[in-house]
């Protein structure tokens, strides 16, 4: 078997006492590209944050396993070192820390002490990834995400993804706020990683990103659960008909989490 396997089983997650995820089941294997779609407020981003260990989200039951290891027992940095990566919807701004220093610290965190990446090798890799993503080289010396435009932040997330080369990448609305040119560049970066060892979970509520990245599996989330799964053809149907047919099929009146209590 190639690559790693991320298994999410009957996952329930709360934020500030309100249950958002109500039993999510999903398995992502190395080489597979999964897309999670669904209207706003259905729990998609909560799933991404819960997998990575965001401090505000509390897992109340269920499990997340990476190659059989209990992810929920790991600290956030341990999850990253185990091979998970989340490209965030709202990356933090950290003044005083340059993008380049942050990237180097991140890469070195994945390596043994005494085996840090040589500076020249790092610069070469960073430069080539920045070129690929059409990022202005000045960004390396700017403070991390501070004053970045929405598009710059998203490209920076993909830059990190390309340089850290995780086993499983999760992209949380990486397409939001991007114009079509930026969207194509971001998609190009993600497609470059496509190989049998890399599994990817793409969260979006627009179909347009999936015009450039073809998913192997498509899941629709509503009311904090995966309510429908299929192949790439599901994207086309959603694009043509929207979500109403799913709601009718399943007898759902209000798809968001909050109104379903």
């Amino acid at each position: 078997m190639a690559g790693s396997t991320l298994e999410i089983k009957d996952l329930h997650v709360e934020i500030e006492g309100q249950e958002i995820l109500k039993g999510v089941n999903l398995t992502i294997k190395g080489g597979e590209f999964h897309a999670i779609m669904g209207p706003n407020g259905t729990g998609k981003s909560t799933l991404a944050s819960a997998i990575m260990g965001h401090p505000k989200y509390e897992v109340t039951s269920g499990s997340i396993l990476l190659d059989g290891e209990d992810v929920l027992e790991m600290e956030v940095d341990e999850r990253a070192k185990a091979g998970l990566f989340l490209a965030m919807q709202y990356p933090s701004e950290i003044t005083g820390v340059t993008t380049s220093d942050f990237l180097r610290s991140s890469i070195n965190a994945h390596r043994e002490k005494g085996d840090e990446i040589p500076l020249m090798k790092f610069i070469k890799e960073m430069d080539s990834a920045m070129d690929y993503l059409e990022i202005d080289k000045n960004m390396a010396q700017r403070y991390l995400n501070a004053g970045f435009s929405g598009g710059e932040k998203k490209r920076n997330e993909i830059l990190q993804l390309m340089m850290l080369k995780p086993e499983i990448g999760i992209l949380d609305e990486i397409d939001s706020g991007l114009d079509i040119d930026a969207l194509k560049v971001v998609a190009k970066g993600i497609n470059k990683l496509r190989n049998e060892n890399f599994g990817c979970l793409i969260i979006t509520h627009y179909q347009r990103l999936l015009d450039y990245i073809t998913p192997d599996f498509v899941h629709v989330m509503m009311q904090g659960r995966v309510v429908k799964s299929g192949g790439a053809e599901l994207v086309e149907r959603l694009e043509a008909e929207g979500y109403d047919w799913i709601k009718q099929e399943l007898g759902i009146e209000e798809e968001t989490v909050g109104n379903n209590a």
């Binding site: 940095d77 005083g96 220093d101 991140s106 965190a109």
Partner: protein, 435 residues
């Protein structure tokens, strides 16, 4: 606390000390006048910090001190502040207030630049020193500590850059309190004449963890019309030294004073940094960072007063507090009547690393003119858990993530320090104090 006849610093002491240094008459008279005032003046009352129990009286005025044959003889802890690789240094080192090492490039000497210890300056340029010594920036009779300073001043440096002279290389002064109980009454004067510019960096350092003493320090920085002064410092007194630090600036028309102060003392500290923007279109950016640890109590005031039209005063104070340390950060912008189109901005932020630490950020705007702009921001809080999460989500450990965030928080001053060796040292001092 009082200045009594039985104290070692009585009138006879001051007269003798002044005579030993062959001081000009005006200086001896000035000291005696100040000593007299010291007995009647009140102690300063820094806002929200009670200093009545701090040690301002226990100290020694005598210390056996040797010179310094070579920079190689400096202890490693001080050597690191000096860029020993560089030949063309402009450096003065005072060891227990004795001028132990002094060098100024011939180019600067030829241009008329003065950079020497205060006693030498008093001998060689008595009138020039008299023109600025506790005249316009700091008065001897502001309170008891300024008066004691004036009476007991026991060293310092005098920096003078003539008209139209641009000094590219930084001037560096190191004040080393080597004797653990020796008191520093250090006086620094920096004068930039019209159209001149300079960069000055100073380091205060001591190692007296338990032995108690006092550092009572006055710095006067004068930027004449269109002059530019960049002033950097790393204050690094050990726990035993109680510090009163008074740094004042005066900026005339089109002049610029930029402060980058690394306030890293380990003992109780009152530090005020006040800049008077006298001239039209004058500018000051006062940046200061500090780290409080252990049981120390500190009070930092950064104040800029705009008199000139279109004058621009910016204040940035960032403090990190740990253990049971406490600190007050006062950022005060004052625009006087007539300062039309002036701008005053302050940012005071405190990062708390432990539950027992205390930090107060008090931004204050006082405005006596209508046609001005002003703004302030203040915050006191812990390391942002979402920032930590973001950094950790890339594999960075919690400790390293906190380290990055703290260094980032203190970077505005660290990056503004113009001497690479001092910048590195400030980074290391921060590292040592935070962890």
């Amino acid at each position: 606390m009082s200045i009594e006849a039985k104290q070692p610093y009585e009138k006879e002491y001051v007269e003798k000390f002044s005579a030993e240094h062959n001081e000009p008459e005006w200086m001896t008279g000035f000291r005696k006048q100040a000593l007299e005032s010291a007995s009647t003046l009140e102690m300063p009352k820094p806002d929200k910090t009670n200093i009545s129990k701090w040690n301002f009286t226990k100290f020694n005025l005598e210390a056996e001190t040797q010179g310094l044959d070579s920079l190689k003889d400096l202890p490693d802890d001080i050597k690191v502040f000096v860029d020993t690789e560089k030949d063309d240094k402009n450096l003065v080192i005072l060891r227990n207030q004795i001028n132990a090492y002094e060098t100024l490039s011939t180019e600067l000497v030829d241009k008329g630049v003065i950079f020497t210890d205060m006693f030498t300056a008093l001998k060689q340029y008595p009138e020039l020193v008299q023109k600025y010594y506790m005249k316009d920036a700091v008065s001897f009779d502001e309170h008891r500590l300024t008066a004691m300073h004036a009476a007991l001043m026991n060293g310092g440096v005098f920096v003078y850059v003539p008209k139209n002279v641009v000094v590219e290389e930084p001037l560096q002064a190191i004040f080393w309190q080597e004797n653990p109980e020796f008191a520093l009454f250090n006086h620094v004067i920096v004068v930039a004449e019209e159209n001149s510019s300079l960069t000055y960096v100073e380091n205060y350092i001591s190692f007296n963890k338990d032995e108690e003493t006092v550092a009572n320090l006055v710095t006067e920085v004068i930027a004449h019309d269109n002059a530019s002064i960049s002033f950097g410092s790393v204050d690094n007194f050990a726990h035993g030294t109680t510090v009163y630090m008074n740094r004042r600036g005066i900026a005339y028309r089109d002049a610029k004073i930029e402060w980058a102060l690394g306030q890293m003392n380990d003992g109780n500290t009152v530090s005020e940094n006040v800049t008077h923007l006298i001239g039209d279109n004058s500018f000051s950016y006062a940046k200061a960072v500090s780290v409080g640890r252990g049981d120390q109590s500190q009070n930092f005031t950064a104040k800029i007063i705009n008199y000139g039209k279109q004058s621009n005063g910016l204040i940035l104070q960032h403090g990190v507090m740990k253990d049971s340390a406490s600190a007050i950060f006062n950022g005060i912008g004052k625009i006087e009547h007539g300062g039309t189109k002036a701008n005053a901005e302050q940012e005071s932020r405190v990062l708390m690393l432990s539950k027992d630490a205390r930090g107060d950020a008090n931004p204050i705007l006082l405005i006596d003119e209508d046609d001005v702009t002003a703004g302030h921001a203040a915050s006191v809080g812990r390391v942002d858990p979402v920032q930590l999460y973001y950094l950790m989500s890339r594999g960075i450990s919690q400790q390293e993530a906190e380290r990055l965030i703290i260094h980032g928080f203190l970077a505005p001053v660290v990056n503004a320090i113009p001497i690479a060796a001092v910048k590195e040292q400030l980074t290391e001092v921060i590292e040592r104090k935070v962890y």
